[in-house]
Amino acid sequence: TQLLEQSPQFLSIQEGENLTVYCNSSSVFSSLQWYRQEPGEGPVLLVTVVTGGEVKKLKRLTFQFGDARKDSSLHITAAQPGDTGLYLCAGAGGKLIFGQGTELSVKP
């Protein structure tokens, strides 16, 4: 059974701080997706990483796929209250396997 361990589960920080969310597995995935979900809405795709070692940037968000394609990280620089939400990683391998999610709260 493929599993994705996401950490931390909860993160409460002040505006302007940096943070990193981790997504780890013992399985290899063909690609890994990161989604953001706001209360009362469905998840929205932020990025897909495909190649081992790949780094993608989306404004203040940096996504990295591990060399072995088993893990990924999301780093947010200078977090803002608008970054508040649930961040989900999802590994693709026949179907999407989701991590448990990280609930991020950024206080002004």
Binding site: Q37, E41, G42, V44, G94, K95, Q100
Partner: protein, 112 residues
């Protein structure tokens, strides 16, 4: 225009009842899904359909029966609802399986 829509948004019902959730996508995608998100926000796939054919059927009780009348619609019928069925159910679609998924707004089901 809403890409993936679900109705109803909220569903409150008694144990033992039967209920349906409807989903429609206007993206022209071939693949549609049902996911269940529990109270801890864990999102798990239940079913996937490709061109009206069932592709994935996770270990879901057979009280749950999906139906895809056409490529743009995927409905979920649930018989004999139980307390443990309370969750948020998301419909999603993608142009290929399991590519970028577009999620609906979710249906919050509460079984009393």
């Amino acid at each position: 225009d809403t890409a993936v829509s679900q109705t109803p948004k909220y569903l409150v019902t008694q144990m033992g009842n039967d209920k349906s959730i409807k989903c429609e996508q206007n993206l022209g995608h071939d693949t549609m899904y049902w996911y269940k998100q529990d109270s801890k926000k864990f999102l798990k796939i239940m079913f996937s359909y490709n061109n009206k054919e069932l592709i994935i059927n996770e270990t879901v009780p057979n009280r749950f029966s999906p139906k895809s009348p056409d490529k743009a619609h995927l409905n979920l019928h649930i018989n004999s609802l139980e307390l443990g069925d309370s969750a948020v159910y998301f419909c999603a679609s993608s142009s290929r399986d399991p590519g970028k998924q577009f999620f609906g707004p979710g249906t919050r089901l509460t079984v009393l």
